[in-house]
Symmetry: C2
Subunit: 333 residues, 2 copies
């Protein structure tokens, strides 16, 4: 329908009085072209406003310069940070990102995998808790190089970037008790929080069982307002706890609920946010949190993917270490 306008390489060739092969050479700067004809061709390209079709190029070269990115659509800051990191080095290296967003549904995530395959991308970065190893290997069986974020998985064309939250959390808990921490630790569980949360919860449970310390687990909603309201009720008859919370905005909801109920932080209540972002520093009291620079993670994943595409990736697994940033929501011990 709207093909009429597109200038093709053939039309350029005709207008310049050369063959399309020559035009192709000029476009790809392959040399083997007289300066005279090169200039002539370049001039007509500019005159006709010719732009090569990436589609046709991709089909002919079997390289699309496209990278598929599979991420949850949730509006979390750390996800858009990750995306920006990926995007930054993709741009620098001449790749374009194709976005495949998923919601909380295994089925949908699978259909996204299918789309990634048909999309003919040169590689893929996957960060989605709905997908397990088997699903990822499926995309890999179509020989599209893949880097998985937050899932231990390596293979011929697969690399992964991991987070070491669980270890860091365990050590933190140990040192908390060693240094005389006396509040009851409570893990705030978010429904459908994903693998990262689950691993943290597991570490929390195991550490406490190992140390023989009492603990508690609470459930909360993945919504600021509901969590705020729930905890306003909760704090009417709870005090002296140490809450471990998944994300900043949930931690902030809890902090606000506590403050508005008259609790003092950190004296009456301590809060630790597991996945800290810049908002940990903005909310009041500022949040003690574990922190990983997700932009860096994105960059690393993209660099690894490029290496994987070029068959140059040696370390197929990279582990990011969160740093504990102590702020005002916990007591310095």
């Amino acid at each position: 329908m709207n093909t009429k306008d597109r200038v093709t390489i053939y039309q350029v060739a005709q207008a310049a009085g050369v063959s399309l092969a020559t035009v192709s050479r000029v476009i790809n700067k392959q040399g083997n072209v007289t300066d005279a004809t090169r200039i002539k061709v370049e001039e007509t390209i500019k005159r006709l406003g010719y732009k090569p079709s990436g589609l046709a190029q991709a089909l002919a070269t079997n390289k699309s310069t496209n990278i598929g990115v599979v991420i949850p659509s949730a509006n979390y800051v750390y996800i858009s940070n990750l995306l920006n990191g990926i995007s930054e080095v993709a741009k620098k290296k001449g790749f374009i990102l194709s976005l495949f967003t998923t919601s909380h549904s295994h089925e949908e995530a699978l259909s996204m995998i299918e789309k990634v395959i048909t999309s003919h991308v040169d590689g893929a970065i996957i960060f989605d808790d709905e997908l397990d190893s088997e699903d990822v290997m499926k995309i890999n069986s179509y020989s599209v190089p893949t880097v998985v974020v937050n899932s231990k998985l390596v293979g011929e064309k697969v690399g992964c970037v991991l987070f070491n939250y669980a270890d860091v959390l365990s050590k933190y808990i140990e040192s908390y008790y060693e240094k005389g921490g006396d509040k009851m630790m409570t893990f705030v569980h978010v429904h459908d929080g994903g693998r990262l949360l689950n691993r943290n919860e597991k570490a929390f449970l195991e550490t406490h069982e190992r140390l023989g310390k009492p603990f508690n687990v609470l459930n909360c909603d993945d919504s600021y307002t509901r969590t705020y309201n729930d905890f306003c009720q909760y704090f009417k008859n709870h005090k002296g706890e140490f809450l471990i919370v998944y994300r900043d905005s949930i931690a902030a909801a809890i902090e606000n609920a506590a403050t508005d109920t008259g609790l003092r932080i950190p004296e009456d209540l301590e809060v630790l946010s597991l996945v800290g972002t810049k908002y940990a520093n903005i909310v009041r009291p500022t949040l003690t949190s574990l922190h990983i620079n997700m932009e860096e993670v994105g960059q690393r994943a993209m660099y690894m993917l490029i290496d994987l595409i070029n068959n140059e990736l040696v370390e197929k697994s990279y582990k990011f270490q969160p740093t504990l940033i102590e702020r005002n929501s916990t007591i310095k011990r």
Copy 2:
């Protein structure tokens, strides 16, 4: 290099003992195929794990089912909200998003436009302050249907989504003085804040000049920490102002600086955030802000683009009205 693995339509045809045209018909569910052969073909497709190449399909049909999205790479919440809105309806309607992120550079933005053109997308959504009408029309001269966000521009294949911040701000300022607001209003200017900020600033200035009221303009950095530090200094000898600030996190920096310097909000200082997000409700005191649901904006833009692609868009311009949400950073009058 890695073409060896890809199963093509031809191999399916051969394995199923039919022509590739028949396979094509089955894929595209065009009918005109016996149930028997259809089943046979579908079975071999599954057996061989065949996935059609989107590239080849796009080239043959001149439809890529790809939408180019040009947005700044800045990690602002409202941008990722916009992207999610776009993504949501894109997914629903069977389009894939190609991401073209820009930084603060006209040159780079232009090169992204070029990439969008060569990318052979079916349409584009552009939200980037670096690009002016001329630049956008360039993409349009390649007959790529385009929806521009935050820039008044319509044409044969161009629609736009606009924000009415300036009007709402003017009215707010007027009513502020009418109702006896007596603090000096100060506009906090962010360097390189973009068109939306500039339009707000212009409205601020014009309204004050029209009303003959004194006012002030401050400059600040687009960084939480620096803004926080700067205003900690500033508040040592400034009091009783009404600050109008572009984004939540800058407003939060100012609020925190004020609070930490001993100012009371809203008694000693009032703050209005122009582009409010969910964080307006999380920071303390909660921020009075103008609010537009950017996810809705993204959805609308995408719907408009689809209509544009199908030559069915009647209203080529749509204006979003921000709502004023009064919270605790201003005095209710």
